[in-house]
């Protein structure tokens, strides 16, 4: 399931070989930083989260290598958790509803710098474009409710408070929006049942 190269690198990490970290950063550093930035909205904090994510990868490599999961999936999940912890920790700063709107157009910054693995970078860009395309087709209200919950770390009740909408309205927006996303992704050829397993390797 996993990209062979990643699996080898993780095995090296698990064996205490620090040098395996640099290629993993080359592959996924940008993705991790981008997701962290998407959530914390602050470059310095996103850098801290990114560092913590790779320390976690280093320390979890042994148990992770045994699971044989996808490195990318694991990194994204940890990044999401750590970034949300970070914004919850600084809860004094209120969450502004407009902070989390998805600006769908022009968000894909294709930078000219050569990524560590161009084929992987291209695959990630394509996948991001696909999910952004699906998101663009949701009504703004649904998109916003989902974004506030998932990237803002808010509960449905907190989303309702942030938007000044009734709780029932928010619940149904989230439900309908997620169902719509599933249909759109399926129509886009992404099989929801195998999404978790659909890594770069077996689509190449």
């Amino acid at each position: 399931m996993q990209r062979d190269e990643d699996a080898q690198l993780v095995t090296r990490l698990a064996g205490g070989d620090e040098t395996a970290l640099e290629p993993l950063y080359e592959h996924y550093g940008k993705l991790v930083f981008s997701l962290a930035l998407r959530i914390v909205h602050d470059s310095a904090t996103a850098e801290e989260v990114t560092q913590e994510v790779f320390v976690r990868l280093w320390r979890s490599a042994a148990s992770f290598a045994a699971e044989r999961g996808s490195v990318q999936t694991w990194l994204l999940r940890i990044t999401h958790n750590l970034a949300l912890n970070e914004i919850r920790r600084r809860q004094s700063r209120p969450v502004a509803a407009d902070h989390f709107d998805w600006t769908v157009e022009g968000t894909l910054l294709v930078d000219s710098r050569q990524d560590g693995d161009p084929a992987l970078a291209a695959w990630l860009r394509e996948r991001a474009a696909s999910i952004q395309h699906a998101l663009a087709q949701l009504p703004e209200a649904q998109r916003k409710a989902i974004a506030l919950a998932f990237f803002g770390g808010l509960s449905q009740a907190e989303v309702a408070a942030a938007l000044g909408e009734p709780l029932g309205t928010v619940k149904s927006r989230i439900r309908v929006g997620m169902q719509r996303l599933r249909d759109l992704l399926l129509a886009d050829g992404i099989d929801a049942h195998s999404l978790e397993a659909s890594t770069y390797e077996n689509e190449r």
Partner: protein
């Protein structure tokens, strides 16, 4: 024959379909999460739907606009992992398996102590690399290597912030211990936290310390007699020069039970 309590019967009968999307997004309240998870244990139909919702959420993580990280980040990440690796080696050396062959698999107790020590060092150091010359770090490594070492939980009280907590590490038959705190309030410059060791319910004044960002603090505690002679460790805010008897509210308190 009833093999399930009425709660789980209810959970099995009432599908949680309407909650699964919010569950996957992490947007449910704690009681709803408990309800969903109890039901998922029993219901393959909802479990399959939850998997799909989780997969959609996983895809959403890929929607973040790709932004090139600052040029210096790679070096920072590598330095940070390098520091973590050095720390892990120090921990592994300090808490070594005793009387076992060097290549024998670690005993659970050894693994547990290493994990505890690493967490405490993380709390103590944040992103700073470990300096084994630092007296507190050195003492902590030494204490955790002792088979008789205890790690006592010291809880935040109602007068402390919600996430305040501490660990007190020491060998009951010795006098030295280390207190590691997190989540305490920063105090005014003319105040400091004071450690108290309680003997027969009477607080005896001990070390003073201050906390850094995140309420992180660490302090060596030298007891006048063996630690086992004391029942409780407590912390109060006091004037910066310390007090002979507590004047501030107790913010941290833990029993030194064997």
């Amino acid at each position: 024959m009833r093999t399930k309590d009425s709660n789980s019967m209810m959970n099995e009968l009432h599908h949680v379909t309407d909650l699964l999307d919010a569950y996957a997004l992490g947007a449910l309240e704690a009681y709803e999460v408990a309800q969903v998870e109890a039901h998922l244990e029993l219901c393959p139909v909802c479990r399959a739907q939850a998997e799909v919702a989780r997969a959609i959420a996983q895809q959403l993580l890929l929607s973040a606009p790709l932004v090139a990280p600052p040029a210096g980040l790679k070096a920072k990440v590598l330095a940070r992992v390098h520091a973590a690796a050095a720390q892990d080696r120090a921990v592994a050396e300090a808490v070594a398996p005793t009387s076992v062959a060097a290549n024998a698999p670690d005993k659970p107790e050894v693994t547990r102590r290493r994990t505890m020590l690493r967490r405490m060092l993380d709390t103590m150091l944040g992103a700073e690399p470990l300096n084994t010359e630092d007296p507190v770090a050195a003492l902590l490594l030494k204490l955790l290597a002792e088979p008789a070492c205890e790690v006592w939980s010291v809880a935040g009280t109602k007068d402390a912030p919600k996430n305040a907590a501490a660990r007190f590490v020491g060998v009951p038959n010795d006098r030295e211990g280390v207190l590691i705190t997190a989540g305490l309030r920063n105090l005014a410059p003319d105040q400091a936290y004071q450690v108290w060791l309680l003997h027969d319910g009477k607080p005896e004044p001990n070390a003073l310390f201050r906390v850094e960002r995140g309420g992180r603090g660490h302090q060596i505690v030298q007891a006048p007699t063996r630690l086992r002679d004391f029942e409780v460790v407590a912390v109060t805010p006091e004037p910066a020069s310390g007090s002979p008897a507590p004047t501030g509210p107790i913010v941290l308190m833990g029993a030194l039970t064997a």
